[in-house]
């Protein structure tokens, strides 16, 4: 028997914009539509997927990355049989389960207990299977006390925990997952990620869509980058992510992902938070790519709602393997953040740091002291890409270390020279 779990061949999906996509939500729209009928012939076709081909081996965990609207979710929807392809074919060998959302079919009037059964059945679990895993699901969700309370009275955190707990106990041979880890608070995300990690270790086949590059990097070995409905990159996760981020950063539409996506542990009514992070080049304009060895400036936009006095600003640079390359504490340089309410910028010029080529991410934290929680933490924000001046020497898998040694004095002598 072959060891292929998923085989996708020239899969395409076309949407008709302006015809099938038109919603007749009201009687008036529909009546107006009747009179516009002759104009409808020129509906535009939009290819959400175009000739997508790839294979996934049994036990392989493949990440799917790409911008919003690139076609990642359409791919999962076609593979989950929610929508039908326009062309091509896909073969899936094994029981498949898909998780495109957590809490699908949850009903607010029903209790937690009732929703576990309902949601489990909707995800494709058998009744006895749900009954068997029931205690495990409840334990994972940490909502024991509220099991018989209608979920409409749950906090959003409880709701998400319960929903994820049911989903996490789905055990098909092949799992299709869409961005479901981006829910809940930081602690729960960590737990969810851990659960996903154990799914991966069990040797199940997983297709995993995410915008969270750290998750893709830690869970998957290979990643497909989808660009305008086509597979643009099919490589090891590290390479695919680097290449994807490079494109993401250098294109103007790159800023669609909000910084809030990377925000962690935000206090309620925090007095100060980071609004944006930019890289400034020599001519003081925003850039996304810097040359290896060149000095660069990091500009932070801060918004304070209360006066801040003597806070510390931490900037941590990470490389694409999620290693901390450098951590900069403003206190070390005798700099304290003391600002009045309003918007402020902080510029840190990095004069003496030579980063090897690759994609870089930044964590930014603002804290008042070392005991209490930080005011605001941004983590894993895509910062920039460093390229070496001699691109001719660049190759994707080249094992650069964590730091670049800019100045090496070599001596090469012949052996027999005295």
């Amino acid at each position: 028997m072959s060891d292929i779990a998923i085989r996708v061949e020239n899969l395409s999906k076309r949407y008709e914009i302006g015809r099938a996509g038109t919603r007749h939500d009201t009687l008036r729209d529909a009546l107006a539509g009747l009179f516009r009928r002759e104009g409808r012939g020129r509906s535009e076709a939009f290819w959400a997927l175009r000739d997508v081909s790839f294979e996934v081996k049994r036990g392989e965990v493949v990440g799917i990355i790409g911008r919003n609207g690139a076609g990642k979710s359409t791919l999962l929807k076609v593979l989950s049989q929610i929508t039908e392809p326009t062309g091509g074919r896909a073969e899936i060998h094994g029981r498949v389960g898909s998780l495109l959302e957590v809490g699908t079919g949850f009903h607010p009037e029903l209790t937690g207990r009732e929703n576990i059964y309902l949601n489990g059945a909707i995800l494709g679990m058998r009744r006895e299977e749900i009954a068997r895993k029931f205690d495990e699901i409840v334990a994972f969700s940490e909502i024991e006390k509220f099991l018989d309370t209608p979920v409409k009275r749950y906090s959003s955190g409880m709701y998400v925990r319960l929903a994820f707990a049911v989903a996490a106990h789905l055990e098909p041979e092949i799992l299709l997952v869409d961005e479901v880890l981006a829910v809940g608070d930081a602690a729960f995300q960590k737990k969810a990620l851990g659960k996903m990690g154990s799914v991966v270790e069990e040797g199940r086949t997983v297709l995993f869509v995410s915008h969270n590059m750290a998750a893709i990097r830690s869970l998957t070995s290979r990643a497909l980058c989808i660009r305008r409905g086509e597979v643009a990159i099919d490589a090891t996760s590290g390479v695919a992510i680097e290449q994807y981020l490079y494109e993401f950063q250098t294109s103007t539409a790159g800023a669609i992902t909000s910084i809030d996506y990377y925000r962690r542990e935000l206090m309620q009514d925090t007095p100060i938070k980071t609004k944006d992070i930019q890289i400034l080049g020599n001519s003081n304009e925003e850039i996304a790519v810097i040359s290896m060895g060149e000095p660069f400036e990091i500009r932070l936009w801060l918004h304070a709602t209360q006066p801040i006095d003597g806070a510390n600003l931490t900037i941590t640079l990470r490389n694409s393997r999620d290693e901390r390359v450098a951590t900069i504490f403003s206190w070390d340089y005798g700099v304290e953040i003391s600002v009045s309410p309003g918007d402020h910028t902080v510029i840190a010029k990095i004069c003496d740091l030579s980063l090897p080529p690759g994609a870089y991410y930044v964590d930014v934290g603002i804290n008042q002291d070392t005991q209490t929680r930080a005011y605001d933490v941004i983590s894993g924000f895509p910062l920039c890409r460093v390229v070496s001046e001699n691109e001719i020497h660049y190759w994707p898998d080249r094992p650069w270390g964590a730091v670049h040694v800019s100045n090496v004095i070599w001596r090469i002598n012949a052996r027999n020279t005295p």
Partner: protein, 295 residues
């Protein structure tokens, strides 16, 4: 899209083997639909537990959300019977045969209200469950089926009410009571047939949602619920036969009250329901693959 068992030679008649390594993996082939039509009853059967849970959810939620709960199910036919009795029985003096008018009206109302409820729920079902359709795969037929089945609980309660009423008026059901389930089945099939059409059309044309209540109201007057078909002149009575619900209501009155059997027109009712149900199934199956894109 279709599912097929992979052709591993070691398996006979597709029975799964228990050994983990040798277990045949089901192979799912996803491709654009070809012309051939299939009801996919096997898939429907595989998803029967989901159907059960969705019916259970519908019933549970319906009783949880209302303050009066189950009392509603009893009050609704009772109040309507009261209004009908005053309006048609006393003021207009509509003939009700050899039984008191309230029993006559209630006997017709219980199957009618089941039908009206089932049709309303079914035609709104796809749009109402859009969040499921766009996020999970299952045979879409389950959704309208849920609408038809979840009404049976209300029907059962209404039926008990009717039995109590018959007892009060000391009316003995005829032996034809054994055929009641056939009339109920006709009501279900009619609701499902029209419901399939309306549900699928409603995905694309939301006006259906506004038309259905109006449509059902007219249908009530075209069905001998408040009156008997004997009120209609002989030569026009076949028109009533075009309405399958005539057969259902008359069948109930025949079985429970011993009134005239539905007669030849019943065959017409069954034929019409069969045609609507079959075309509804075909139309539904043909359009269901675009539901997720359009809804």
């Amino acid at each position: 899209m279709r599912a097929e068992q992979s052709g591993v030679p070691t398996i006979e008649n597709g029975a799964p083997l228990s050994a983990a390594n040798a277990a045949p993996l089901p192979t799912l082939v996803i491709e654009p639909a070809r012309g051939r039509f299939s009801l996919q009853l096997d898939r429907l059967w595989a998803y029967r537990e989901l159907l059960y849970f969705l019916v259970w959810r519908d019933v549970k939620v319906r009783y949880k959300q209302t303050a009066l709960g189950v009392a509603w199910i009893v009050l609704q036919p009772l109040l309507t019977t009261l209004i009908f009795t005053v309006l048609f029985g006393m003021l207009l003096e509509v003939p009700s045969g050899d039984v008191p008018y309230p029993v006559f009206a209630l006997t017709g109302l219980v199957p009618w209200q089941y039908f009206a409820g089932a049709l309303t729920r079914t035609s709104a079902s796809l749009v109402g469950n859009a969040h499921l359709i766009t996020k999970v795969y299952f045979p879409r037929l389950i959704i309208p089926l849920t609408g038809v089945l979840s009404g049976l609980v209300d029907f059962a309660i209404g039926f008990v009410l009717k039995a109590v009423m018959l007892n009060i008026y000391r009316i003995q059901p005829t032996p034809a009571v054994l055929l009641l389930h056939a009339f109920l089945l006709l009501a279900m099939a009619t609701a499902l047939g029209f419901g399939l059409w309306l549900a699928a059309l409603n995905v694309r044309y939301r006006d259906i949602g506004y038309l259905v209540p109006f449509f059902i109201q007219i249908w009530l007057y075209a069905t001998p619920v408040a009156y008997g078909s004997t009120l209609i002149p002989e030569q026009y009575r076949w028109l009533l036969g075009l309405n399958p619900m005539t057969g259902v209501v008359e069948g109930f009155r025949w079985a429970l009250l011993g009134q005239a059997p539905p007669g030849r027109l019943f065959a017409l009712s069954v034929a019409i329901t069969t045609v609507v149900l079959l075309t509804g199934l075909v139309y539904f199956r043909r359009t269901e693959r675009t539901f997720a894109d359009v809804v």
